[in-house]
């Protein structure tokens, strides 16, 4: 059971970064971006190209893929979402679904359907208090912890982070406080793109690289963001851990194939009993 809980925690940790990206994008742009799964896939293949095809070590390959995905996300926003911004959340959400299909199939077109893996040196797993852990899991925990810490510093200690929270809180007040919303939106996309890229690489390390790798996590990532409270970074972190651990522990009592039901049940329960999530603010309609 301890082993299962640990595996679940690692799965949850993997989801923290995409859940944080979902919650940041929702906070600032007020729509659920269902293209995040495919964005993770594209970024993971970018890192794969640098790592397995060009022979770069995975760390710099991931860093470059993160920067590239950040810039790509800004471009995607300009072309796809910006022209639709005034039409409301439903239109943007549908556009994100279409964008997800396009991105995932671009990856399929470039690399085919077969599973691939990063070029990582093999390391022997080790045991700690009876729990078996491997190198990839340790990297996942360390990278996610570092990214979460960086996000905490950004959001609470830096002017741009505060501006992002201000725009998420009250966009028109943000304007009369001198905040240039388009600049904040660009930064939000850049940061979300970078988080999704790192998340994509972590998923690729945990499983394998294949076109649906990101979309396979989509429901769990959204469940984590909704459970934590859309728009709440701390909630995204807590929600991802809870969904990861509970999904994994559920395999002790139900068949592993039905594990996907856990995040769906979590979404249903949280929307009925606490729609604002664990850490979110109740929605006030003016």
């Amino acid at each position: 059971m301890l082993q299962t809980a640990f595996n679940g925690m690692v799965t949850g940790v993997i989801m923290t970064l995409p859940a944080l990206a979902v919650t940041l994008l929702f906070g600032v742009l007020k729509f659920p971006n269902f293209a995040v799964g495919a964005m993770m896939t594209v970024a993971a293949y970018l890192a794969f190209a640098l790592n397995a095809q060009l022979g770069w070590p995975l760390a710099p390959a991931t860093a470059v893929a993160a920067g590239a995905m950040g810039v790509l996300c800004i471009g995607i926003d300009q072309v796809t979402f910006k022209p639709l911004r005034e039409r409301g959340a439903i239109t943007l959400m549908v556009a994100s679904l279409g964008l997800g299909f396009i991105l995932e199939n671009l990856a399929r077109f470039a690399y085919g359907n077969s599973a691939r893996s990063f070029d990582l040196e093999l390391a022997r797993p080790f045991r700690l208090v009876g729990v078996r852990m491997n190198q990839e899991q340790m990297i996942t925990i360390a990278v996610s912890a570092a990214a979460m810490l960086a996000m905490w510093v950004l959001l609470t200690r830096m002017p741009m982070g505060r501006a992002m929270r201000a725009v998420a809180d009250n966009p028109s007040l943000a304007q009369v406080r001198g905040i240039e919303t388009p600049r904040v939106i660009r930064w939000t996309w850049f940061i979300a793109g970078a988080l999704l890229a790192v998340g994509g690489v972590l998923i690729g390390m945990d499983r394998a690289l294949e076109p649906p790798m990101g979309s396979n996590y989509l429901i769990s990532v959204f469940a984590a963001a909704i459970l934590g409270g859309l728009g709440s970074p701390l909630g995204a972190f807590a929600g991802a851990l809870v969904i990861g651990v509970v999904s994994e522990l559920s395999t002790l009592v139900i068949a592993p194939n039905y594990r996907i039901g856990v995040p769906l049940v979590a979404i249903a329960v949280i929307l009925v009993f606490r729609p604002q999530g664990l850490f979110g603010q109740p929605y006030i309609r003016k």
Partner: protein, 243 residues
């Protein structure tokens, strides 16, 4: 006296129709002007348009002779306009300190200054430092209003626009708010204020305009308007009372 704000033939609105139908006004530097009028007369639309939240469809807006048309709200802030909306005038999920920091960082005061409130503002709003760590959404209505004022004043704007600063406040707090408005004005800030509480606001104002149906129905000194026998009909925009 110099004119700080000059508005001529201003049209603005939402959707197909105009709410403001040719507004002209001039605000003298260092003065307080109150805008009164019935609900739906365009008072809030006027200040939103001046703040840059709503585009002007026609007409011109000048601050100290410099045209503001075409500038978005954040650029107008840098030109010296501060606006305090009627509701939702603080970032509720951010702490009081974070609200003040944002004002300092983005309204043009520079990011090097460590203190979020200078001495003058600390004297004006002595309660605020005690609440620095509290989320602004947990403050009382009066405290929120004070925080919104303080944020708007961190950069010493040339023009402060207030949209119903006494809305939802008790009579005692209303008096306090108007006292603050007077003190802010004595700091050299010109003030344009939309207010339903006509009598109290006119007592501290120098000038007044009455809006009705998106047009200026009257423009006079606050004292003249206060001295009118039938302020109510005037307040409701009765054109026969035109001055």
């Amino acid at each position: 006296m110099n004119t700080i704000l000059r508005v001529a033939g201003l049209h603005a609105g939402y959707g197909a129709g105009d709410i403001l139908k040719g507004i002209d006004l001039e605000l003298a530097q260092g003065s307080i002007m109150t805008i009164i009028g019935p609900n739906g007369s365009g008072k809030s639309t006027l200040v939103k348009t001046l703040a840059g939240l709503l585009p002007a469809r026609q007409g011109s807006i000048e601050l100290e002779g410099r045209p503001l048309n075409g500038l978005g709200a954040p650029r107008r802030v840098l030109e010296g306009i501060a606006y305090v909306p009627q509701e939702y005038n603080v970032f509720r999920n951010l702490t009081v300190l974070e609200n003040l920091k944002i004002a300092r960082e983005f309204m043009g005061a520079g990011r090097r200054e460590k203190r979020v409130l200078d001495e003058e503002l600390e004297q004006l709003f002595p309660e605020l430092p005690r609440h620095y760590r509290i989320a602004a959404g947990n403050l009382s209505g009066g405290q929120r209003q004070m925080l919104a004022f303080a944020c708007a004043l961190t950069v010493r704007p040339k023009l402060l626009m207030l949209d119903e600063p006494s809305a939802g406040l008790s009579p005692l707090l209303t008096i306090e708010v108007f006292n603050k408005v007077e003190q802010v004005n004595r700091m050299g800030v010109s003030i344009l204020m939309v207010e339903q509480n006509a009598i109290e606001s006119l007592r501290i104002s120098h000038e007044c305009i009455v809006l009705a149906g998106g047009r200026v129905r009257a423009c006079a000194s606050a004292r003249e308007i206060l001295g009118m026998k039938d302020l109510n009909s005037f307040y409701l925009g009765d054109a026969s009372n035109r001055i």
